[in-house]
Amino acid sequence: MLNIENLSATIADKQILKGLSLTINAGEIHAIMGPNGAGKSTLGYTLGGRPGYEVTGGTATLDGVDLFDLEPHERAAAGLFLGFQYPVEIPGVSFVQFLRESANAQRKARGEAPLSGGEFLKLAKEKAALLRMDMDMLKRPVNVGFSGGEKKRAEMVQMGILDPKLAILDETDSGLDIDALRICGEGINAIMRKADKAVLLITHYQRLLDYVKPDFVHVLAGGRIVRTGGPELALELEEHGYEAVAA
């Protein structure tokens, strides 16, 4: 599904990714772990197309489509969802309006019929309930006044509504208390653990992986993947630290 080959990327002329390769097949959940500054978030932003993140080499395709040929909104319509580590607050714009317009913009780009107001609300209610989120919160401006945990749950509600093929979740577990961590973990499983979908979890800690069991764990250090293993690798990292394992 996602095929990254020899990817290099810079931010403000600083080389962050240095020849990263990674293949994720449909039905798989991968976790990328690594020390601060290794390039984990850069990988997510580069694939999402955030301005300022420049690809200097390599390729990335999603189901054969070259991601770097597409604008950020086209990548979303192609099925890429990026869960933000720090979801942005947008005063004055309600979640419901923004999400309905986003969902319908994606559907339009894919040649599908738009969701009616009623259809959209039904879908939003269902996904909000999955994340134990009060529908009233989605009537409020995007992320404004939300706690850290509420923002992360709102990201998962958005993922549920937009129904992507591939979700890259950047430190979804940071800022979550124990209950919210479980709710988010169960949400990810319910929405994305499917034969035709895939997930890339970017995380520092094992704890999210207790709920969302990865098929593969990668260690990212110095801008490339230095080790790949099964779920046991995350436990090894937790016990011995990145330095010992990545060396």
Binding site: H73, G92, S102, Q106, P141
Partner: protein, 242 residues
């Protein structure tokens, strides 16, 4: 004033004088609200032609007036407002300006608190693209003895292109003690982080900008009797520009 003003006239410093000439002299629309009464007016400039309005509002003691302005035509648009407030009168202006191309749009206000305890609030939001110029010149004058005055001006402009110009000059002239006057003024651009967030969810750039600008403009129309109509007309103007 029957002769065409020049740029030396402070109130016309940024005006498009060539466009103003055929409209000159602009007749003054007088509005008088009797003591304790309430009035409201929505001025919508959304035509293809150049337009200039001059409105003089007198509020007697305890009178209230709610003025909304949408300055979003495709030519030169000027709205001048002169307000005199009696004792404990209330005046609110909520205005939005939307301009692109080589357009000039401007709102010029003079609000005089002639007696004690009157309240005036002004909220002006401008969205400017291309080589457009958007101006707000606003003076709040507090007369001698007009204690307990509460006057505020909140002026913000959003530049869609670095080639657009926003002029904002909130001014206070205070001859009384014990008054409360606040003004805030900001010129900015759409937050690129927010735009990326919206794009990542699938919104094309023009849609994402429209959504954010709609929220920005909405601040001018909150609580208006014809809030919906004003917002809808503003949206059309935004769509035409993006």
């Amino acid at each position: 004033m029957t002769t065409l003003p020049t740029r030396r006239d402070e109130a016309f410093r940024y005006a498009d004088l060539a466009a103003l000439e055929p409209l000159w002299p602009v007749s003054v629309q007088d509005i008088h609200v009797a003591a304790g009464e309430q009035g409201a007016l929505a001025v919508i400039l959304d035509g293809a032609n150049d337009a200039a309005r001059d409105i003089a509002i007198t509020l007697e003691d305890g009178a209230e007036f709610d003025l909304r302005v949408l300055n979003a035509g495709s030519g030169y648009g000027r709205v001048a407002v002169t307000v005199t407030l009696g004792k404990a009168a209330k005046f609110h202006l909520g205005a939005a300006q939307i301009a692109g191309g080589d357009q000039t749009v401007e709102i010029v206000t003079q609000v005089t608190h002639a007696e004690p305890d009157a309240v005036s609030t002004q909220v002006v939001r401008s969205v400017l693209g291309g080589h457009a110029t958007g101006t707000y010149l606003g003076k709040v004058a507090v007369a001698r003895g007009a204690i307990g005055t509460d006057g505020s001006q909140s002026i913000r402009a959003m530049l869609l292109d670095r080639t657009a110009t926003a002029n904002a000059r909130p001014e206070l002239e205070i001859y009384a003690d014990d008054v409360k006057c606040a003004h805030g003024c900001a010129v900015g651009e759409l937050d690129p982080q927010s735009l990326f967030y919206l794009a990542q969810r699938g919104l094309p750039p023009a849609e994402a900008k429209k959504l954010m600008l709609q929220a920005f403009i909405a601040e001018a129309f909150v609580g208006a009797a014809d809030e919906e109509a004003l917002t809808e007309t503003a949206l059309k103007a935004l769509e035409a520009m993006l």
